[in-house]
Symmetry: C2
Subunit: 192 residues, 2 copies
């Protein structure tokens, strides 16, 4: 932990504690009142912190919701590296499905969607885009013919998030395998 | 107009007028107060109708938002029928982008996302799924090798909606052409 980069200048332990209190308060309020009724002041009151400390750390309610929905997908966790991009992407997408299909996380994802600022990526999307790029570059370094990171977002991540948010069939980890297969068929066709 | 199927038993003219009042009230309230603060009772009050007439016609706020966001995409409009699925899908997706990229409609789409019931398609998705199926069946009847309707949803509609809701780059009609090209590369690869 490097406290110097934290904007609120509190010691790391206290800062981590505040973050945990805020996330727990958010999850409780969403469960109790529904996601559309939750506000930053209400979260602050429940957590026993000031609203300004929430705005300082997360920017706005959308940032807090998106970060809480995906916080267990630690941006510093090791990504799959099996030696084949197809297996890497499948494992990565399955992890995303398993995480976001949990009802509480789906709720937070929908709330983040409603509040997302169209001009800038949400945290959730920005981190997934970075991860897609890492996996693609890792495969290219091995000499694999790989899709563009943007194609991974459009044809693997977008269908998963779209199904989670707008419903229809339940989203299961098996979906990852089909979508990755379709992405690779697309890449094979543009190779020749 | 067949009044017999209308659940509220009002004459068609009165019913259409009520719908127009409700949609206008919704758009005004979203513009004035932001989408997250709008409720069915508030829309009813502004429109001068009873809340129960809104619940009867649209089910809930999510249904009203989704239907208003896409209402100019009349489900009875003629779909493209150029003689080639590739051109049909491109024109259809471009129409969707042009419509939903308007800020008011993007707002309504995000609000509908937040309130979507994960167990059932929203109006917006259900109508697009029907249209995808119509276009695919039309192409198969001409003897074309066509993707599944589900693939059209996953690889053409999902990336468009995902980009509109979660941001990043602006969504322009040219995107339709690239995505349709990728979908057709995928289908060509699975043909052989």
């Amino acid at each position: 932990m490097n406290d110097v980069v934290l904007p609120n200048k509190r010691p790391g332990g206290r800062s981590a504690q505040v973050q945990a209190l805020v996330r727990t308060a958010l999850e409780q309020l969403v469960a109790e009142q529904g996601r559309e009724r939750v506000t930053v002041p209400a979260v602050a009151e429940r957590a026993g912190v000031s609203a300004s400390s929430i705005y300082r750390r997360w920017g706005d309610l959308s940032g807090l919701l998106a970060e809480t929905a995906t916080r267990r997908l630690d941006p510093n966790r090791p990504l799959p590296n099996t030696g084949a991009l197809r297996e890497d992407l499948t494992a990565w997408a399955q992890e995303l499905i398993t995480h976001l299909a949990q009802p509480c996380n789906t709720s937070l994802l929908k709330a983040a969607a409603a509040l997302a600022n169209g001009d800038s990526d949400t945290d959730c999307l920005r981190n997934r885009r970075k991860e897609a790029l890492t996996l693609v570059e890792q495969a290219r370094a091995r000499g694999e013919h790989a899709p563009e990171a943007q194609q991974v977002i459009d044809h693997l991540i977008a269908p998963i998030i779209f199904r989670l948010v707008f419903g229809g069939d339940p989203v299961k980890p098996e979906l990852a395998e089909r979508l990755v297969g379709e992405l690779f068929a697309m890449v094979a066709a543009t190779r020749s």
